[in-house]
């Protein structure tokens, strides 16, 4: 009779992992490449990306004003909808008509966009004066110490700036005499 256990063993070993916890923890698939294309079977073949890779990409820094979040690589249209006509607007046709690069100026904020698939996405967000602050409270005129105290150690540093990378966003503080002169959120290249 013992041989009948063979199959119990096969299954029970698999079952064991079941009883180690409960509740669903899987985030909805974040990666468009792997999500629904992966069939029941396909996921078995290409195996479990679920765990490490599939976690949602870390969100980058976001600039917030008037209840609207502006994030690099985010769509521009909802921002224009919320903030209305910009104070200043500049557009330049890219070579060979591959779309318009646009620059929107809203008060002290300048937003550059890039075109993709007939939509405009935020490329950079620039804070120009001390009437506005980053979501974390840094403004033009803050000291270098304030920046480091708020954001911690910079990802990289140049003669004129501290650069913080987070998610898809690169946040750069420019200094003159250890005083912030410009704040730019930019979509990370490469």
């Amino acid at each position: 009779m013992k041989k009948r256990f063979v199959s119990i063993l096969v299954s029970s070993m698999l079952v064991v992992s079941l009883f180690t916890g409960c509740g669903s923890s899987e985030a909805p698939a974040a990666n468009s490449e792997t999500a629904p294309a992966v069939s029941e079977e396909a996921s078995a073949q290409e195996s479990s990306q679920q765990s490490v890779e599939e976690q949602v990409a870390e969100p980058g820094y976001v600039y917030s004003q008037g209840g609207v979040d502006v994030a690099v690589n985010g769509e521009m249209a909802p921002i224009v909808e919320a903030w209305g006509e910009p104070d200043k607007y500049f557009e330049s046709e890219s070579c060979a008509f591959q779309g318009m690069d646009k620059v929107y100026t809203y008060g002290s904020v300048v937003i550059n966009t890039y075109p993709e698939n007939d939509k405009d996405y935020v490329l950079t967000i620039e804070l120009k004066d001390d009437t506005i602050t980053t979501a974390e409270g840094i403004y033009i005129g803050s000291s270098k110490e304030d920046v480091v105290a708020t954001y911690g150690a910079a990802t990289s540093e140049t003669d004129v700036a501290l650069v913080y990378d987070k998610g898809e966003c690169q946040l750069t503080f420019f200094f003159e005499d250890d005083c912030v002169t410009n704040i730019t959120y930019a979509a990370k290249m490469d």
Partner: protein, 528 residues
């Protein structure tokens, strides 16, 4: 190397051409070499895993067979001297020896499978249970390509050897090829050693019909995969990922699209696999038999992913049903719960285990487990309702009528598609919410107001999809009527047969959803 990559196509041409150019004796060793190259290209580290599985299975199968042979010899030599009891005791002793070895093999290989595939799932759940997502660090585990498939295939073999149904393969290289044969490594079918070995190791002479039939099937597979499934992927991804926007009727659309996408994706892939093998004269087991023409869910599972289903039946369901403890449970429940319930207990328990493991096998996530159990529930319910159906059929005499059969088929497709939404949304509560919204939120206006043009497909895409699906459906209907399109075409002048293949190729090249021009990346931006 994905099946749809240009590298794979180059690799394939190289394999098939050299297969027929070299001496026939070298054919299977060549396949072994190419299979290992295929695996090596995917990731050199994978080789270690497949080698461990192959060598452990090889060694243990030989040991078990040696035990068998030795015991037989002993028995023949000592038959006369042994009493009945002695014989029985000796047999039990032999079996126990073999059993130990089998245990080692299963523990090792299913252990590898479990550790690589399920470690992070377990960690996630422990963290969740402790309410602290950073308590245990997730490990960066490599999951060898196709490990679920080759582990099952190999375990099937070792169990067969244990059962004495299969002679052990004494050539380790042959066994290695059985484990690693490259077309089926990635997505099955899960072959039985006894079926595959004769054709895998046989010498194959170049035969125009065999090769062109194989190629025909490969082309047909690519057509389904690249022209239909990959094109639908865009829409399905959009619908499934933007769960705030796409509710109600959109969920229904997603459900249908996913049903077609999955069908074309999976059967296309298997057609490519079987076709590749066929080009070299090797016959693989069929994995599908017109699943979307099933009239109930049980039938569906006999027609969809067939090799997996039979594997679970042979190596899990039956053994569990007749194992000692189960017989005890069965006896107990008959005695205590009455005949009606008692009869069902063992069947239910075995089925439960089968569907649970089926779910787990599909992926290390709760949605797959729930998906598996949902299948279990539906099958059991329909089984319980059987008498009711029978009464209904008796009364209204609809059984076998085309209209009623159509209804049954559509009902089965819808039911299976609905259950599959767990696999789509990958999150159990979310799936319930979304599927629920199909009934609570009614927005059929999306069919007419152009909303369906916003989900990543253009009018041209819909046209290709419609024509493509009509072709697939027509071919399926031919098959229902027991025509093989290939055979019909082959009987016509050669020029016709080849032209059809050429057209499949050209259509796939032009209308396939692949490459830079086909924009599947747009959602990456949309997500954030």
């Amino acid at each position: 190397m994905l099946f749809t990559s240009i590298e794979f196509i180059g690799f394939l041409i190289l394999v098939v051409v050299s297969y027929y150019l070299i001496p026939k004796k070298m054919q299977w060793p060549l396949l072994l070499i190419f299979s290992y190259i295929f695996y090596f290209i995917a990731d050199p580290r994978y080789l270690l895993f497949i080698l461990v599985t192959t060598l452990s299975t090889y060694g243990i199968s030989i040991v078990m067979e040696n035990i068998n042979n030795a015991s037989k010899e002993y028995m023949t030599a000592h038959k006369a001297q042994m009493s009945k009891e002695e014989k029985k005791a000796y047999k039990a002793q032999v079996k126990a020896k073999k059993w130990k070895w089998l245990l080692v093999c299963l523990f090792l290989n299913i252990g590898i499978l479990s550790v690589t595939k399920y470690t992070n799932f377990v960690i996630n759940n422990i963290n969740n249970f402790l309410n602290d997502t950073s308590k245990l660090q997730l490990v960066d585990m490599i999951v060898p390509m196709g490990i679920s498939f080759y582990t099952f295939q190999t375990m099937g073999y070792i169990i067969d050897v244990y059962r004495g149904k299969q002679e052990a393969q004494r050539n380790p290289f042959k066994l290695a090829l059985f484990v690693s044969f490259f077309p089926q490594l990635v997505q099955g079918p899960i072959s039985r050693y006894g079926d595959l070995a004769p054709t895998l190791f046989a010498e194959h002479k170049f035969d125009e019909k065999t090769v062109s039939f194989g190629l025909y099937r490969v082309l047909w597979g690519y057509f389904k995969k690249v022209v239909i499934a990959d094109r639908m992927l865009t829409a399905v991804t959009t619908l499934v990922q933007q769960t705030d926007t796409y509710t109600g009727t959109y969920v229904f659309v997603a459900m249908l699209f996913y049903a077609f996408e999955l069908y074309c994706d999976f059967t296309g892939g298997i057609d490519i696999t079987i076709g590749i093998a066929e080009m070299m004269g090797i016959r693989l087991a069929e994995n599908f038999h017109l699943p979307y023409f099933s009239k109930n869910i049980k039938e569906y599972w006999n027609r969809w992913h067939i090799t997996m289903g039979t594997w679970f039946t042979d190596y899990i369901f039956y053994p569990i049903s007749v194992c000692g403890p189960m017989l005890k449970i069965s006896k107990w429940s008959r005695n205590h719960l009455g005949e009606v319930i008692g009869k069902r207990v063992p069947v239910y328990l075995s089925s439960f285990v089968v569907w649970l493991t089926t779910g787990i096998w599909h992926g290390a996530a709760w949605n797959f487990i729930v998906w598996g159990l949902m299948n279990f529930v539906v099958i059991m319910i329909s089984q319980e309702l059987e008498p009711l159906y029978a009464k209904f059929h008796n009364r209204f005499k609809v059984k076998g009528k085309p209209l009623y059969e159509g209804f049954q088929i559509i009902r089965t497709i819808l039911l299976m598609s609905a259950i599959r939404m767990f696999d789509c949304y990958r999150d159990v509560p979310l799936t319930f919410k979304m599927v629920g919204s199909m009934f609570t939120k009614c927005n059929p206006g999306i069919f007419t107001d152009g909303s369906l043009m916003q989900i990543g497909l253009t009018g041209a895409d819909y046209m290709v999809l419609a024509i493509g699906l009509i072709i697939v459906l027509s071919v399926s209907i031919m098959k229902v009527k027991a025509y093989s399109v290939r055979e019909v075409l082959y009987a016509k002048p050669a020029f016709v047969f080849y032209t059809v293949m050429a057209l499949m190729f050209l259509v796939t090249i032009v209308f396939g959803a692949y490459g830079v021009g086909y924009d599947s990346s747009q959602f990456i931006y949309n997500q954030f």
